[in-house]
């Protein structure tokens, strides 16, 4: 995966993203549904935060409030010290469905952001080529998204976000619709990018194993209304040196942590 | 004013100036006279066998008016009413008296300026020989077709009424002439009230005439084809109207003096053979222009003729049929007849 943040590495430990008492309710009157309640969560630049929890726990709502797609009913979300006020190119977003633009070619999708900013064709061609080459999509640049496989489509969606050099990448179950092998490959690619660039990532996932394996932090949420149950530091993402995912995932420490997170989710689902 | 003396004094110069001005003035007079006529006239017409087709076919209207004529083909008098109400037709040639009575009752701004023909036997009840219809009551339980809203429709209903037949006893169907002939050929209908050329096709395909027109005329069911002019047009361009009526009279003369020559021209216009055209034309009573001004027909300015009463009684009948809302006073129909242009055309 390509470099995204220009090697811009922020000082670890400093608060980069902050949720302060965030609550979100949908509907009004008798039809009021609280989706999130009292969410307070800070993380630093370079953190890889994975959010897990049962269905309907507001994971997606959490991400959308950071992306600026919805305004919290209470509290504030801020990034880099500035409160979030609507969506922007500083936050790249990837959904479970790639949501590519079928009327644009692969190259057109990749260069969508620069095109919006009015960059010349020549100027954006270089960035697009660099990004497409790293994910192996360069030779497909003149094809249309529907001619690609699911994994390639998702890679293209990630490229479309990374091309904008976002400060943070928000991903909502990006690998949920992929087969096991592709999924594992994509996890590795994402991990490589993150390690190389030190970019901040917020990943929402159903898979506890994925969260524990990729995240520096795993946030467990409970459902109705969505609350944070616990935030757990996970050591495996930062392990230095060569490692194989098979090995890591069978480490006793990994299994123990995975079981702990799972039981938290079970508990929160039962209450 | 051919030469101007260079040494001329003021007086002669003044004279010259006056003369030039006069010449210029004189020069404008013919142009003014032409400007008094319209540049463009919209005329609605039927494709039919009538002397009007001679005037159209020979381009006489264009010649006498010096205007661009926009010929608008219509299929029914109702279309002329609509078009005049919309202001897109100045002159309607051949409109039936029934739609005209309806139009005048509804306040459509036009005037009857000419009786093209008294329809007489040209529109007549035609019955299928095989249906064995000998007296009016034989029609009970039979299907009779006619184009609704036409003069034929008016006379058919008059026929049923004067013979005490209700529309529950006789099925009256609304068919355009073309569809009517097709239905006849298939044997779908037993009788029809219609005009030429459809009528002759029915007769050729196993039909015979059931004579109704003389008794109906006596009972006041007079029907005629007319020329109507948009009131505003008639007021603005009386001269043009007179010229057009003159052309119409000339066309009628061609038919009365040289029927064969007329039939040839008319046949070409109507898309039928000269023989058919001639046979059709012979059935109409073309009311000579002088006769039109008699009290029996249109009358003269200040002395309205009895045709206004014909129109009013037609309107009464239409109101009974709910085709129109109400019947206005006789005065409305009298005002709806303008005989001045025809009178001038005959001078």
């Amino acid at each position: 995966m390509p470099d995204a943040t220009d090697g811009r590495r922020l000082v670890a430990g400093e608060v980069f993203v902050s949720f302060a008492g965030v609550g979100v309710t949908y509907g009004s009157g008798a039809g009021r549904v609280p989706a999130l309640e009292g969410i307070s969560l800070d993380f630093a630049a370079g953190d890889f935060v994975c959010v897990v929890g049962p269905s309907g726990c507001g994971k997606t709502t959490l991400m959308q409030s950071l992306a600026g797609f919805l305004k919290p009913s209470s509290g504030t979300v801020s990034i880099d010290g500035r409160p979030v006020d609507g969506p922007g190119a500083d936050r790249g977003v990837v959904f479970q469905q790639p949501a590519l633009f079928p009327w644009l070619t692969v190259g057109g999708n990749a260069g969508f952001g620069p095109m919006l900013r009015g960059e010349s064709r020549a100027a954006r061609a270089e960035t697009v080529e660099q990004h497409l080459r790293t994910v192996g999509l360069w030779e497909f640049r003149d094809r249309y998204p529907y001619e690609l496989s699911g994994g390639m489509q998702q890679r293209l969606a990630i490229v479309r976000a990374l091309v904008n050099k976002p400060k943070i990448l928000l991903m909502d179950e990006p690998f949920g619709a992929l087969d096991a092998l592709t999924r594992e490959k994509m996890q590795e690619e994402l991990h490589t990018v993150w390690r190389r660039t030190g970019m901040t990532v917020l990943l929402i996932t159903h898979s506890v194993e994925e969260a524990v394996y990729l995240g520096t932090d795993v946030v467990v949420m409970s459902a109705r209304p969505g609350r944070i149950v616990e935030r757990i530091a996970a050591p495996f993402a930062r392990r230095e040196g060569e490692r194989s995912s098979r090995e890591t995932k069978s480490l006793p420490a990994f299994v123990a942590l995975r079981e702990r997170v799972l039981s938290l989710i079970w508990q929160s689902a039962e209450t | 004013m051919t030469t101007i003396d260079m040494s001329a004094n003021r007086r002669t110069l003044l004279k010259a100036g006056l003369g030039l001005g006069g010449a210029a003035l004189l020069g404008t007079i013919p142009r003014r006279a032409r400007a008094a006529g319209p540049d463009k006239i919209n005329i609605a017409f039927f494709t039919e066998t009538s002397p009007s087709a001679i005037a159209k076919g020979n381009g006489w209207i264009e010649d006498v008016t010096k205007a661009k004529i926009n010929w608008i083909e219509v299929g029914s008098g109702a279309e002329i009413n609509t078009a005049v109400a919309a202001g897109s037709v100045d002159l309607g040639i051949g409109i039936g008296s029934a739609p005209t009575a309806a139009g005048l009752s509804q306040g459509i701004g036009y005037q009857v300026v000419y009786i093209r023909d008294n329809i007489g036997p040209a529109e007549e009840l035609t019955v299928r020989t095989a249906a064995n219809i000998k007296k009016p009551s034989d029609l009970i339980g039979k299907k009779v077709a006619t184009p609704f809203g036409s003069t034929s429709h008016f006379r058919l209903l008059g026929f049923l009424k004067t013979n005490g037949l209700t529309q529950h006893q006789v099925t009256v169907l609304d068919l355009r002439p073309d569809a009517l002939v097709a239905a006849w050929q298939r044997g779908d209908i037993d009788a029809a009230y219609v005009w030429a050329p459809a009528k002759s096709k029915l007769l050729a395909a196993g039909g015979e005439v059931f004579r109704t027109y003389d008794k109906l005329e006596a009972a006041g069911y007079v029907i005629a084809d007319l020329i109507v002019a948009r009131t505003a047009f008639a007021q603005q361009y009386p001269e043009t109207l007179v010229e057009i009526l003159k052309a119409e009279n000339r066309a009628l003369d061609v038919w009365t003096s040289t029927p064969d020559k007329a039939a040839d021209i008319i046949a070409k216009q109507a898309g039928v053979t000269p023989e058919v055209a001639r046979a059709d034309l012979l059935e109409y009573d073309f009311v000579a222009p002088k006769r039109q001004l008699e009290p029996k027909w249109l009358g003269t300015p200040g002395h309205p003729g009895r045709f206004a009463e014909v129109l009013q009684s037609t309107a009464k009948f239409l109101a009974e049929q709910k085709s129109i809302r109400s019947v206005p006073d006789l005065a409305v129909f009298q005002k709806g007849i303008n005989t001045a242009p025809l009178g001038q055309a005959l001078v």
């Binding site: 992306a67 600026g68 797609f69 609507g86 969506p87 922007g88 190119a89 936050r91 790249g92 977003v93 959904f95 469905q97 949501a99 633009f101 079928p102 009327w103 969508f112 952001g113 095109m115 919006l116 900013r117 249309y144 998204p145 529907y146 969606a157 479309r160 976000a161 904008n164 928000l170 | 919209n42 609605a44 494709t47 010929w71 608008i72 083909e73 219509v74 299929g75 279309e79 609509t82 078009a83 109400a85 919309a86 202001g87 897109s88 037709v89 355009r176 002439p177 073309d178 569809a179 002939v181 097709a182 050929q185 050329p197 096709k201 898309g271 039928v272």
Partner: protein
């Protein structure tokens, strides 16, 4: 595709069979000649009106008049209908104020208000084009509106997250997203316009293929009527094929998204 092409000979055969049956019916005198003109007569009529025209108007003039009215009304309806539909899709208030009028107008048979249009707009081409406009316009506007309402939310969000402004979202996401629905609406509307163009020529027309057919039926020239039907059918097929090709070219992702 190869599958359907391999059966093309069957299509040719069935069309040939149709003409063969027509020939046999006439040759064997199975139908009265005045009910069904023979193929030779229709062919002769075609040659005749190609050379001499029909009642003073050439076939090309008639075809051009009909096509001109049809396309005039259709293009006008598209120019007004598409933007209005898009706007309605964006603005619920506008939609609420207009939607019921379109709903009411859409199923109305155009012939029912033809007489009113002639009354209001006169006998010229204005009333005819207006008729076609009114016949096509509700379908187009409602299709465009449905297109806007059906835009994938995530695509909009993805564009916003690439830094798109509201105007850019509209231009680069909403507009192309509406294209499939709008094109479908345009295709239905063209079919409606084409079948209405003949109705428009029913009254106070003096050229056009519809006029030719009506005028010919007035004189019971069944051969010209049949010829007119054949020409109109082929012309309609060509028009809808053309728009379908445009659709498939523009909306290349149709059915694959």
């Amino acid at each position: 595709m190869t599958d359907s092409r391999s059966y093309r000979w069957l299509s040719v055969l069935s069309v040939a069979g149709f003409f063969g049956a027509w020939y046999v019916v006439n040759a064997a005198h199975l139908a009265p000649a005045n009910l069904l003109p023979s193929m030779q007569e229709v062919w002769a009529a075609l040659l005749d009106i190609l050379h001499n025209g029909y009642r003073g108007t050439t076939l090309w003039e008639n075809a051009a008049a009909t096509l001109g009215r049809c396309l005039g009304g259709f293009v006008l309806a598209a120019i007004v209908g598409v933007p209005l539909g898009l706007w309605m899709g964006r603005s619920p208030v506008l939609a609420a104020s207009i939607d019921y009028i379109l709903q009411f107008m859409r199923p109305l048979p155009p012939l029912s208000y033809l007489i009113l249009l002639i009354l209001w707009l006169g006998t010229g081409d204005t009333s005819k084009v207006a008729l076609l406009f009114l016949a096509a316009f509700p379908t187009i506007a409602m299709a465009a509106m449905a297109g806007v309402r059906g835009v994938n939310r995530q695509r909009i969000q993805a564009a916003l997250a690439c830094g798109a402004t509201r105007a850019q979202v509209f231009r680069h996401v909403v507009l192309p997203s509406c294209l499939p629905m709008t094109m479908t609406g345009l295709r239905i509307a063209l079919a409606v316009t084409f079948s209405t163009v003949v109705a428009a020529e029913l009254m106070t027309a003096s050229n056009g293929l519809g006029w030719m057919v009506f005028s010919a039926s007035q004189f019971l020239r069944t051969d010209i009527v049949l010829l007119g039907v054949l020409i109109l059918g082929v012309l309609g097929m060509a028009l809808s094929r053309a728009l379908l090709s445009l659709d498939l070219w523009l909306v290349h992702w149709r059915g694959r998204d």
